[in-house]
């Protein structure tokens, strides 16, 4: 899932400066699941904004609406008319959703209410951890299902650096496990250490330009 966090309200207000009628648009996808940008959070943020504006004596009218996903055009149809009533939109989706809204309504200013943080997992309610940098060339099969690109602070490919602490934590933080320490432990327990004893050559980074994916069954339909 994509995990996001709300921006400080002051930063949102700064973006909204000069607008008096805005739509706060929630997303029912990932940011709803990670409790950052769903219907409930739209309510809370709108309420907080109204309060803040009232405190400063400025006027603002905030509409609220949440669609199932801001990253798919199918969910936008009834929104097309609604947005016409507003001067700007606050999007509570991830960065992808924000851009999708902006591309759909190019005449309308769009403001992100969230910082998109990472692709990760739930550790518990309201507690998430980053696990994937979407590098596009997965090595997890060789690294015991532990991502060195994401979980090693230096994205190393050939084993732990010299900084691994005696308790197996990373040199950058005593509380952070060293990814390579964990990879070693797990591969050892599986008796598969030979996977990491060979030199892994420099990788070809495939995430340096914008990527698109067209799945095989659809190639005829989309590719000219």
């Amino acid at each position: 899932m994509i995990v996001a966090e709300q921006k400080p309200i002051e930063e949102i207000m700064k973006m909204l400066h000069g607008f008096t009628k805005v739509l706060n648009l929630g997303c029912g996808g990932c940011t709803s699941i990670c409790l950052a940008g769903g219907q409930k959070e739209v309510d809370t943020l709108s309420h907080d904004l109204r309060q803040k504006y009232a405190d400063t004596g400025a006027a603002i009218e905030i509409g609220e609406h949440t669609i199932e996903r801001q990253c798919n055009a199918d969910f936008f149809f009834h929104l097309d008319d609604l947005v016409k009533e507003y001067q700007a939109v606050i999007s509570m989706a991830c960065g992808a959703g924000v851009q999708f809204v902006a591309d759909r309504y190019p005449a309308l200013p769009i403001f992100p209410a969230l910082n998109t943080t990472f692709v990760g997992v739930d550790l518990d309610v309201g507690w998430y951890e980053e696990n994937c940098r979407t590098c596009g060339d997965c090595v997890l099969g060789d690294t015991a299902g532990i991502c060195p690109v994401t979980r090693c602070a230096k994205s190393l490919f050939n084993g732990p650096c010299g900084g691994t602490r005696l308790n197996g934590s990373c040199e950058v933080d005593k509380e952070l496990p060293c990814a390579w320490y964990e990879i070693h432990q797990r591969l050892k327990s599986q008796d598969r250490l030979e996977l990491i004893t060979k030199v892994r050559p420099a990788r070809e980074w495939v995430n340096q330009t914008r990527r698109t994916v067209i799945q095989a069954p659809y190639r005829d339909r989309y590719q000219k």
């Binding site: 230096k154 190393l156 084993g159 732990p160 010299g162 050559p201």
Partner: protein, 314 residues
């Protein structure tokens, strides 16, 4: 010879080598470099020139290396993976070799979070083992990492670092093997204080036949004070300082700790000279360059051998 450099010649001649360390200044002072270099001249076979050490900006390692050459010292040009991508690295390697640098030490680099620009973007395009391999292919195959031919390949003696104490301990000798497989000619180790653990590591390396193929320089850093020993024990990740060492320093009494620190270092060097698989020492006297002559003298490492080119070593 792979590089035509002094360090390679000394090691190939089977002499017990010694390398030093010099940290570039945080400004443009050539004088500061010359002054440090003066203490090391004639004392070491090559001197490591650190590359934005501890992720703090300093004069470029290659530039400092060139100043050091002017001073009659052979630099061991350090390069970290944190600050450069493969294009910049290869460009710098060509320039370094063209201007007479003969040794390169390939490192991952301390994480930027520790330095003076903690929110900078760490590059880590390739890792230190991949860097070793890249330099090796540039030198021996005359190829850039991208596959094109190099018009005049670089001539460099390739070094890497090893930490015999980092966890997981049993992995460390395999990491050494990996660095050898990638093309390292020599390694310099992390500062050694736990001699017992180091012996275990070098024994494993001997058993695996690694030490016949790679020159290992044992890292030595004399303690200046009890505070420094405590700091290294508690705050430097991957450092192993046994409590005994600290006790011994304490026992030296007021005003005598530094002398005791040097004495310990010299005893270690004596041990390393006798240790199978150890080809020399790497003396890291951090901001203590002026004491290097005394230490090298006391460790009976003088005079340094002069190997005349063409005297028989391959």
């Amino acid at each position: 010879m792979k590089s035509g450099g002094n360090l390679e010649a000394v090691l190939n001649a089977g002499e017990f080598a010694i390398t030093g360390e010099l940290g570039p200044p945080r400004g443009t002072s050539i004088e500061a470099v010359r002054e440090k270099a003066a203490h090391l001249k004639g004392m070491v076979d090559a001197v490591n020139i650190t590359d934005n050490q501890t992720a703090v900006v300093r004069m470029a390692s290659w530039a400092t290396s060139l100043i050091v050459i002017e001073e009659g010292l052979e630099p061991n040009y350090q390069m970290v993976c944190r600050d450069r991508n493969r294009l910049a690295m290869q460009a710098d390697i060509l320039g370094a070799s063209a201007l007479g640098i003969r040794n390169i030490l390939c490192l991952s680099g301390d994480h930027q979070q520790f330095g003076d620009h903690p929110r900078s973007k760490g590059v880590f395009d390739i890792d230190s083992i991949q860097l070793v391999n890249m330099v090796k292919n540039m030198r021996d195959e005359g190829k850039f990492l991208g596959g094109d031919d190099i018009d005049g390949p670089p001539k460099l003696f390739i070094g890497a670092a090893a930490n015999p104490f980092g966890e997981p301990f049993e992995w460390r000798v395999h990491r050494l093997a990996k660095k050898l497989a990638a093309g390292a000619d020599f390694v310099q180790t992390q500062c050694i204080y736990n001699m017992k653990k180091f012996r275990q590591w070098i024994d494993e390396a001997n058993d695996m036949g690694l030490t016949e193929k790679i020159h290992i320089l044992a890292g030595v850093t004399p303690f200046k004070s009890i505070g420094m020993a405590r700091y290294m024990k508690n705050n430097v990740p991957g450092m192993d300082v046994p409590e005994d060492m600290i006790k011994r320093l304490k026992g030296a009494g007021k005003g005598k700790v530094a002398t005791e620190g040097i004495k310990i270092a010299c005893e270690q060097i004596e041990e390393f000279k006798e240790m199978k698989g150890v080809a020399g020492v790497h003396l890291m006297a951090i901001e203590w360059e002026h004491r290097v002559p005394q230490i090298v003298e006391q460790a009976k490492m003088l005079p340094r051998p002069v190997i005349t080119p063409g005297s028989g070593e391959a």
